[in-house]
Symmetry: C2
Subunit: 568 residues, 2 copies
């Protein structure tokens, strides 16, 4: 088999491999290389004390969902992943608390310093793997060595916070940055410990890299209902220590808290690479090819320190995710072992759980799609995540982005207390294959009422988009101002009175009789139909168009998505 | 836009469309056609009293999870889907309790008889849609009009059973056929009502169309633990009514029960089609092309009555699933409206929930793959469905089938108390694109600890398969007899003693120290390694091979899948 050729040739090679960074990317690459090259001497060097831990689980250590920090660095069978484990089980030498200071590419060696003894040691290599990770971004002017102001990047950060919560030292926390980590921490502080969390972001809405504003606002509203204080459009101007705590200074005023966590994002830790002359991208990440080789053929790079390419936009991006780091590491290990594996452009799938709300997205947001120059089409929809007669089903709210010219899929965003994340995965697998709206209609879903409705939400939202193209009836976004339109509420009368719209003077014409009563809608007015999910209203709009209404639209995602915009 | 051309041309067409069958396929086709052709006269005829109900939800009506039969025929907003609803909301004429007796293709009319009055009525059509469904198969010699012996196909069947359970008339039920419906009913009778369910199947294991034997046996063991009595390899020879109940006669003896349900499968209801000379396939289903047109260009067919083509095997199959029926119906409706939509070959995804166990599969089983002539490669694996440090994660057990020559994906089977179904969906979307093992490595999963491990099970099982190809180390199936091999148990000592293997004389050499102790394994024996999930043991096997062991294998899926084969 061709697949095998390169690998077998390399079996005898006793080369020296050095990896910098002993977390997902570095260790995965090192272990894979050792597996394929049993005679290689593989050394992994890390500046930290703890290695190979589940950094994405740190918010759950803070929250108390996970009992001890060790849980994050244990194998599934309960063995701590320390240097001893990697030596005895994986055949790797792991050197911790040691900082790589300089890479000498000509001599092929890394100059390191022990953080414990200050001793300098040189590690020669034949092949070098850079998995140096990323560093939290801390804005200028924020004190860096205060015990009351921290970032959230390494295991020690989580351990300290957990202790402080347990001993009651933090009753009020300021979270700067409303990305996934900020949101997860907001839950962590609130749900179990009853601390007050105040979330700040300079962007107009939370989770700006994942969600468009009207999707984000629904999640924001939900978080506020759960007790989180959220200030968007609110850049933090400074953080100042006081005797009793910390003051967060913003254009909206000063906020007094016990502790501040800066979680506005990370930047690739590419200094070592830059210093030795490797090519660095505009994003600040190390440039690699599809084989994860840097501009030096003997040096590979993976994980949070590299620059990736977005499959849909074609643009360079930074995507510091453990799931990608693992895959990139394996590609390097395989290639060191004689394979020829590729790590393709990424679609940027993301997921975050905030209290009981599951939020997920993939592909491009509206902003990214517009910047890339697509002829953006959008569809919203609310659906049941399982059969709607099956007990415990939850509503699922989706936004689909596609190119109107080619019907090519661009992105998907969703939130639900039920199943949304794996639907994003299905969508992402279509994105990877350049999928179109029609491919969503062709997708086969394993169906039984406890898992899905007979017609899956992904299928339905593709129908919504195609109907819009086909019938020329546009939906309005769930956050649209309907004020100047004649509003036809096609929900049942009881639905309409139970969850009334904020607008005055709506006309209730229930869909179940719509064809017999739709003449009550004036033909000369700008009309908008609304129902609970966007299905009935889209049909009603089409019927009105047939009957001669000049301008008729409907509210995408229905009253469920509209009313989710604002707190009740 | 090209997409629009055909549709717009047809807007004015006042054609007559008749559909036979008022469930998923027929109504979806009719409603879609009416939407695109507002001037069409669309009539839907059904022999039943109830129409448009969620037949797949019937087991949950029996179980009591769903309170009333009406729930299955209500819209999400609580309106009963009866002829009145379809007229006032959808513009369709629905005629119920009326049987189509004959299709006159030359005159383009359907001759029908009212089941209430016996009156004959003719319905002329320009286009006809056959959505006549399927009929339960009842073996010869089983009485057909006994109140104690029933099939499970129409809503009335479920209503009667629910009443009988509620009034305590059924304390013991015989279920003939261990497919999805038989298994769902076994739960329905047991879980809420405490009735005794006895499940019979002539096949060696349950769910034979979905699962290979060693996967099925794990589910079977679980069901037995939940109190279901299961007899596989046990064809039912006859069902005989007695004064007090019913006797099920089998080679294993007679079983006395209060009620028997025959659920061995369905056959396409294609008699009308055959009688008027339409082409019928070997499977008994109506032959249609990709546009869902029958051999008569004016007649379309969809739903359980049609023959489909399997994408992976290329063979004709019958796949009576509501999810497909809906999609097929929409294709017909769109094509009647001037579109050119296709319904492609199917991959046969299926899902069933049995008590708290979720079971799902897609593509070919081993039997089907071998019949088709693939060079079958197999990988098993046990994984955590979420991050294994995240509270509430569940084990997920997968079997992957692929072609060794091309690494093309062939099928996936899984069971878990956690998330398995949507992973099958992701896999199915790759199957549809002719995906290979490498495509699973390229798949991007939205990652956060509450939803998935950093390395998704689908990625990991592809690694398992590729490692096997690459390293030439074969796994044994979880149900393999290890008797004649030297068994190396690489689990931790406590794991091994807590869940001991049935085999005697195993050698426990924990993986976390394996490289330092593996010399204890004799090089001249046939060795098999085992761990809990199949990951450690595969690595251990490779290390032993490096050290010179001549014949070394490992147990796929580990002790978790091995011990799941037999009741504790």
């Amino acid at each position: 088999m061709d697949l095998l050729k390169g690998y077998l040739m390399n079996k005898k090679n006793a080369i020296r491999i050095v990896a910098l960074g002993a977390n997902a990317a570095g260790l995965r690459a090192a272990a894979r290389a050792k597996r394929l090259l049993p005679n290689a001497a593989v050394t992994v060097i890390d500046r930290g004390k703890f290695i190979s831990y589940g950094a994405c689980g740190m918010p759950y250590l803070v929250s108390g969902d996970i009992e001890t920090a060790d849980k994050l660095r244990e194998t599934a069978y309960g063995v701590i992943r320390d240097p001893d484990f990697f030596r005895k089980a994986k055949g790797l030498e792991v050197v911790v608390q040691t900082e790589a200071e300089r890479i000498d590419r000509e001599a092929r060696r890394v100059v390191c310093k022990s953080l414990l003894t200050g001793e300098i040691q040189e590690y020669p290599y034949d092949k070098l793997i850079l998995a140096t990770g990323a560093t939290p971004i801390v804005p200028h002017g924020i004190p860096r060595n205060s015990p009351r102001i921290s970032t959230f990047k390494i295991l020690e950060d989580a351990i300290v916070l957990r202790k402080a919560l347990q001993s009651g030292q933090i009753k009020k926390v300021g979270l700067v940055g409303a990305g996934p980590i900020g949101c997860e921490l907001a839950e962590a502080f609130t749900a179990m410990w009853g601390a007050k969390a105040i979330l700040f972001d300079a962007a107009p809405t939370i989770l700006p890299a994942m969600l468009d504003p009207e999707m984000a606002r629904a999640v924001e509203t939900y978080m506020k209902d759960e007790g989180v204080e959220i200030h968007t459009n609110c850049p933090v101007l400074g953080v100042v220590e006081s005797k009793e705590g910390v003051t967060v200074k913003t254009p909206k005023g000063d906020f007094e808290v016990d502790h501040v966590i800066i979680a506005i994002g990370v930047k690739p830790d590419s200094t070592l690479a830059a210093d030795c002359g490797l090519k660095i991208g505009k994003t600040g990440g190390i440039v690699v090819d599809e084989r994860m080789t840097t501009s030096d053929p003997n040096i590979f790079a993976a994980g949070d320190c590299v620059e990736l390419k977005h499959l849909v936009s074609g643009r360079p991006i930074i995507l510091p995710l453990g799931s990608l780091a693992n895959r990139e590491g394996r590609v390097i290990g395989s290639n060191l072992g004689g394979g020829d594996e590729r790590f393709g452009p990424v679609v940027g799938s993301a997921a975050v759980k905030v209290f009981d709300m599951n939020v997920s997205s993939t592909g491009l947001t509206t902003k990214a799609a517009e910047e890339t120059g697509f002829d953006l089409g959008v569809a919203w929809g609310s659906f049941a995540d399982r059969a709607d007669y099956y007990p415990g089903f939850e509503n699922l709210h989706l936004k689909l982005l596609y190119d109107r010219k080619t019907t090519k899929l661009l992105g998907l965003q969703g939130y639900s207390k039920g199943e949304v994340v794996k639907r994003v995965d299905v969508f992402a697998s279509l994105l990877r294959h350049g999928g179109k709206l029609e491919d969503l209609l062709d997708t086969e879903f394993a169906y039984a009422p406890p898992f899905a409705p007979a017609v899956d939400p992904l299928y339905s939202i593709a129908c919504t988009a195609r109907n819009e193209l086909l019938e020329g009836i546009q939906s309005l976004p769930p956050d649209a101002d309907l004020g100047d339109r004649f509003i036809v509420d096609v929900r049942r009368t009881k639905e309409a009175s139970d969850r009334p719209l904020p607008e005055k003077g709506t006309k209730n014409l229930p869909f179940e009789e719509f064809r017999t009563i739709c003449d009550q809608v004036p033909k000369d007015k700008d009309v908008v139909c609304i129902c609970s999910k966007g299905v009935r209203s889209s049909e009603a709009a089409r019927i009105l168009k047939e009957k001669g209404c000049a301008d008729v639209k409907y509210v995408g995602g229905g009253s469920l998505m509209k009313l989710a915009q604002k707190a009740r």
